[in-house]
Assembly symmetry: C2
Homo-oligomer: 416 residues x 2
Amino acid sequence: MKGLFAKTDAEAVRAHNRRVVIDHLRRADSSTRRATAQATGLSVSSASAIATDLIRSGIFEEVEEDGRSARRGRPEKTLRVAGSAATVAAAKLAVGGLFVQLADYAGRPLATAAAERPVADLDASEIASILASLTEEAASGLSGETPKPSRMVVAVQGMTDAGHRRILWSPALKRRDLDIAGMIQALTGTEVEICNDCSLMPEAFRWRPDRGGLDLGTGDFATLFIGFGVGMGLRLGGQTFGGPLSSAVEFGHLNHRPDGALCRCGNRGCVEAYAGDYAIQRRALGGPVDAVPARRVTDAEMRVLAGAARERDGPERDAFAQAGLAIGYGLGRLFTLIDPLPIVFTGSGAHAMDLLEPAIRRGITQSAVAGQGAAVPFGHVADVDALVFEAGTAHALASLDESFAREGPADERQVA
Amino acid sequence: MKGLFAKTDAEAVRAHNRRVVIDHLRRADSSTRRATAQATGLSVSSASAIATDLIRSGIFEEVEEDGRSARRGRPEKTLRVAGSAATVAAAKLAVGGLFVQLADYAGRPLATAAAERPVADLDASEIASILASLTEEAASGLSGETPKPSRMVVAVQGMTDAGHRRILWSPALKRRDLDIAGMIQALTGTEVEICNDCSLMPEAFRWRPDRGGLDLGTGDFATLFIGFGVGMGLRLGGQTFGGPLSSAVEFGHLNHRPDGALCRCGNRGCVEAYAGDYAIQRRALGGPVDAVPARRVTDAEMRVLAGAARERDGPERDAFAQAGLAIGYGLGRLFTLIDPLPIVFTGSGAHAMDLLEPAIRRGITQSAVAGQGAAVPFGHVADVDALVFEAGTAHALASLDESFAREGPADERQVA
DNA sequence: GCCTTTTTTCCGAGACTTGGAAAAAGTCTC
DNA sequence: GAGACTTTTTCCAAGTCTCGGAAAAAAGGC
């Protein structure tokens, strides 16, 4: 993987240093040639040469600063990532429909389009054509100079293949093993990647680690979605973790209690069977732990349950406490295998953190070695949908950055 | 971490390509300039230049092949890693004593020394001086041309700090937070690294992935030690996984059953509290699950229990089945978070795989998503001690390789 | 209007890799 | 046994990076 087995030559050096420069500008938002040199460790000459070349390629742009610095010396030229360099699409396939959001190369949202409709019966080609036409619909309102999207990232619930091209299985769909990426690529020519929505979420923090009430820096952390299901995204060693097979940290189906409550997945005792919306409702209403409701619990219903739990000590409060404990044990187990990490919560569960947090921390204490990680920082992002689109956009942009980094010098490339 | 934030220059290119060449020779055992070029992707010129330079530095050597190839053309010169380039020490601190094994730069064992004695009351300086004198003792029998050990890796049970310099806590010692590495370094000048023994084990497969009845290739895998405790080593993405804090995958203390059997660590329900030697004995003898024996269970006692379990259906067989189930659930949980991996078993438990394996696979089936990983390949290494020394040696050699890779050209370096 | 300051550009030097030519060191054939 | 043939290794000129320092550029300060 890394490159211990691949040689390095001038081309690799070039690509790497371009990558470093692009990455710096993504983080810094705006910079100058000199500041780039300082931040990357490159000499001023090299940083300047790379920046100038990226400008010639249209990847960076020099912008006029309004508030002129009244400082002495030759005024610096402000560099920015050029929004016009490309367009990317972040798509989402969920139970409620299909959604597309376009963004420019600087990451600014450009347009959205939605098809709110049942999706369970769709096949691969139908999904592909809906996503393709949503993309076209969103693009139709844009200025003629906006390029066509050159990358698309589709966030889905469920499992994808190692190559991020197929949906192996999704709770939103009846069919299995759908080659969505291939279909969309054939229709639009865009490069497409299919990702698990929860695994994707850490990408939203790639260049903006100071969110959700935490500054994650460049360190490891996890995102934890709590809602109809429970899903985790993991960032380890600067990389978003993706197992070769499932490409998902299936935290929701991490076993909590052997022979425990029945989960949607068919197994017994999963975290989700205690902490998913349906599990909380099931317990609050005193239903049997063997019943998995077909119907989806609405956010409104969950708000009612949370309200009741906040008001009085009763089955609702107990249900949230059990949910928190299951999550806490799950985190404790994760911390035992990996190491304690900051956690960013999102999803409907993130709106009930006041009910969940004490039980979560208690669960960690009881399950982690020496209770390590019980005091780990918790962050919180309210709007899951926005987070997923941001994550998809960031992921698509990173993929573009990589291909731009590998490009040859600007004067060698022919204009289209 | 990776190096996305570090620039690349000629020096980095040089170091990287030297690294790649050295790594190739470690894996291939013997090679030629041409074969090196082919294996690494470097041009013949570069591979040859690097190899020649490494020979001049004494890191590689050209050896006379006995069985001359009766092939046409200029005969190839066989390259080998030069054993004489350096000496490394692999040490072990265990309940029963302190042990040191020296090996040459080619990884061939040279000598050993042992101090079988109680260690519980030792402090950092005592441990350091014993290890230093054991090293000297082992080295004393060697030819005068053998260099002094330039790297030492100490494998210990328990937790080490992130910098691999201190023992934060070990079941073998009463004292805590001991700066062993610093002490030894002060005494001998050798660079020292302190590692958790279980975390270290995957290193033994670094250049020899075809062991324990499996060919692990360059893929991910885990080693699982089952004995007085239960410990895991994880190789992910070509790197031995080490959490920044504990530097150990604390598989033995992964919670199996909330409020379950009492573990040595004080928590309830750890895998070890079902699968450790003492837990198996406890259950086989019908003892209470709240009793943690102070005395260590001997291998002979375990063999008796295993014999009884093989002979008849009774509490012994049940104890092994429960142990297997706990391990299986643990693996299922690991596979849910990460992905299914091949497992190499070692330790006394590895001698009872016939008793454990069915329950382990059952546990995986019941706890992993869709039972994924229940058919994962199991390997098996009988001699744990040898494995740990090999792992320590490999780790020390890898560290030397890295520093050799970073060295300048041979003609620039002065001779000592 | 000239000096100072700071950023950017320019240029020669240095360190790699590379491809191809030349050399080396054998076997094979007649 | 000499020359042809093969294959590996070495040598060399060219190419492409980065780097450091000098020069240029573009302001403010006095």
